[in-house]
């Protein structure tokens, strides 16, 4: 809620300055002397930003060949628990133009056509959520077989087209 409050204030500042639109605002009034510094205000991007990053990516080393002919011969490296999923941090920062009631789906089964349009299987989603705040963050568990993810942000406003972006792993 703090973030929401901060951005409401920011929005008022923009209006007061006669700015707005898609401009990024980073300057904030200095606090009175002796008061603690406020939490830095993030800028609201001109375009809604989607970010998906692996939480703890491992460094790929040289490929190790396995000579095991049966599972009895396999030796598991210490500490490896054969996990079949990875953790990703999803972050969405909405532009002011997109700052309205919306619904986010993050799905794994989709196609992108040559004209840039998407076809998404919404039964393949890993995340479905309403969005009301400007910022959204979530940790997503993605199984290793997932070749990519697509995020689709649909607006309840009939005049607004959905924002769609994807990541190929």
């Amino acid at each position: 809620m703090n973030k929401l409050y901060i951005f409401v204030c920011l929005s008022m500042l923009i209006t007061a300055c006669g700015g707005g639109g898609s401009q990024s605002i980073t300057a904030v009034p200095l606090p009175p002397a002796g008061e603690p510094l406020p939490v830095p205000i993030e800028s609201q991007p001109a375009v809604t930003e989607f970010s998906l990053e692996e939480s703890n990516p491992k460094e790929a080393g040289d490929m190790i060949g396995s000579s095991a002919k049966t599972s009895h011969e396999i030796v598991v490296p210490n500490g490896f628990a054969l996990s079949s999923e990875r953790s990703f941090d999803l972050r969405i920062t909405r532009a002011q133009d997109d700052n309205e009631a919306a619904y986010l789906s993050l799905c794994s089964d989709y196609k992108q056509y040559n004209d840039g349009s998407y076809s998404i299987n919404y039964d393949s989603c890993l995340l479905r959520t309403s969005l009301s705040d400007i910022n959204y963050e979530a940790v997503i568990i993605v199984t290793n077989d997932t070749p990519g993810l697509v995020a689709a942000l649909w607006f309840m406003d009939e005049s607004k087209k959905p924002l769609i972006t994807d990541w190929r792993f």
């Binding site: 599972s71 490296p77 490896f80 089964d109 039964d123 995340l127 199984t143 077989d145």
Partner: protein, 851 residues
Amino acid sequence: MKKSNVYVRSYYGTNFDVNSLSQVLIEYKSGYLCRSAKQVNRFIFTLLFSLGSSLQVAAQSLVDSDLNNQSLYASGYITAGARTTVGGNVQSATAVTLAANAIVAGTVEAGAATTLGADAGVVGYIEAGSTVTLGVAAIVNGFIQAGTTATIGASAVIDGSVVTGTTATFDALVEVSGDVLAGTTVTVGAGSIFHGNVDAGTTTTIGAGVQIDGILTANSSLVPPPPLLVTNQEVLITSMQIALKDLGTGTELVSTTFGVNNETLEAGIYSTIDYLTITGGKTLTLDGKGVDGTWIFNIANYLSFAIDAKVILLNVTDNSTIIWNVMGDKAGSAGYTQLGAGAETTGFILAKGFVQTGANTVIEGIANDCGGAYSATNFIEFGADSVVGQTGCTNGMAASISQTLADAPVAATLDFGDAPASYASLVDDDGARHSTENNTIFMGSGVDAEFDSYQFPLSDDVTDGNDDEDGVAFVTGLEVNNAAVLELIASTSAFVDAWIDFDGNGVFGSDEKIADAQAVIQGNNTLFYAVPEWAEVGSTWARFRVSSIGGLEPTGSFSDGEVEDHQVDITELNVSIQYYPSASEWATIAFEDNWPSIGDYDFNDLVINYRISEYTLNGEVIRVKLEGQIAAVGALHHNGFAFHLPGILRSTIDENAIRYTINDLPQNISPLEAGRNQAIFIITNDVWDWVSPGENCNYYRTEAGCGSDIQMVFSMTLPMANAIPSAQMPEFPYDPFLFATEGYDHSLAFGLPPGRAYEIHLPDKAPTEAFRTDFFGRRDDRSEPQNGRYFVSTNGMPWAINVGVEMQYSLEYMDVIYAYPLFSSFIANQGLVDADWYILENANTNNIFSN
């Protein structure tokens, strides 16, 4: 090269009998019309055909025609690139050309010329209406009959006889096992060997060092038979193509979207109103489900497999059939088929137009059948290093197509919804249904037909393997008292009527209609609607009907269009849902139940498919849904299965509000394990209470030939009495585990039956409070609780593995490494390599269980 080419000879079980050919020739000269029974048939067929082709089209089947036993037929020419192999017979109404080292394991019949490049081979005979030309060191295991000339390259080998209308010319070092008869001239190069007679109508020219075991005769009185007649089969093939198309539209595949990604189709009739293309590098998996099946693809325009596109067979039986019927009946269509380099397909291609492939392509038959291709009007060209039919294959194209037509059932012509009975789906309930005959109005990629509704929990999409409930996407969630959006794909301009059972009372009320004769256009349509405040949270159903007029009721029949029923989930306002592995797919946990001893590593002693849905409101988890099914039990031990929520207290769960169903029947017993502090959900205390092995089988769905339907499906909704802050929730997939059933022995390591005190968890997942920690360290177990190391062996191997798909697990006793060869590489590289080792594309399909 020639001498080492035993490969060619090995196919040919019975070499042509030289003496019988001589006899035939003598009989012919004595006034017999025909040389063999085969040619009698051909003559009669030709005669009848000339009397009235339309009558013959109706009566003639492929097996009764000259196309029988042909692996390749073209009304135009046929060429095979260098090193290409053809498993069956080849027939062209014009010319046949084999490039160097190409091999035909059957016979070659050409209306005009036949040409073999150097080192090329034909296992059967060659009959050509005009010339036969053999390159250097070519091999023919049967006889050669040429309407005009035969020109045999140096060092060629012919195991049969050579008969030509005019000249026969042999280069040096040729070897012929049978007789030679030329209408005019025989010319023999130096060093050639002839084991039979050599007869020339006028002249013989014999080079130095030639060996002739029989009699050399110039001015011979023997008369070569007339040139071979290869009948043009366009009319017959076209009639077969029409007959296949008349089997019905089946499922319509949309040309622009089908084949763009990897696809899977179960047996059935499929059609396109335009082309069918598989994109480069993509796969089309034909899933036979272990029963005899037929795939018929009726294609209006052309068929194209791009570079490295591949057809993969999964659990397809030897008696199954695949037919690619390239009609070319779309206006302006040539009806051709093309395979890009490296493309692979299976089955029989019936094409109106040409068939053309790049290098390294494959057209295989199922099991021992030869793959095949017939071009009704044009040529067939294979690139270099291609394969048509496996070595040793037997022809089956004509017979298979004829059998398919004979066996074809009456096609269904109505599309039904599949919502539960209360919504009225069956014919007897006047369920919503639409005629599919000549219908072009549908949602999504197509519409299929059934004889009646497959009501939930059945589904026609499961039954026929084709998901035609694909025209509606709920692009936003359905939240009580909130706006919502859906996308609907229409095949053409039409009208939509739609309902959502918001109050969950099992019927579509008039106040639940969200679209009333709503006009839609071809392609994507976005529909906005509102979920009322009186909507009930939970699972419910939606029905969509598209038609040419709109204004339909939720029941009753209509003459065009489609009905789609969708199960939807209504949630509270502003609820987030996270899924593992996704909203509709299964993850799989598979156990070895010999712990603490190492087992056979087939990881099928207990296999559970499951998914998790986690509902969050304002940063707190308010509800969890666990769904799953028992996929396999490959052990005689009695085991239970449960989920544990690590770090969550039992008291957190609102036990009275839990909803638990098994096979869609509510369960009266709380799954929340009693007497514990931890939140543990018992799916079942003994999996054998719910499943049974097949007849003459020891286990449930792990042995070859022991397939069965899934016998136990569960669904558990777990509301929280106290919402759990998201940060405190355990990560997916929580902690699913196996435990021993009370009262049953499990391992000699324990003496008495260990019961609930025995658990097997995923590696490094701590056991629950019910576990007896002094079990650790027995036999092969090397758990180190003090170091957070659990349920691993000396080698660090686990007794349970978890993967993100509905895994096709190993056959009984089959080490998982033989089913999934990348398993060891995945482990050796700590998951940085071959992380998706468990997907079907990485399986050795011979070693996985198929239902």
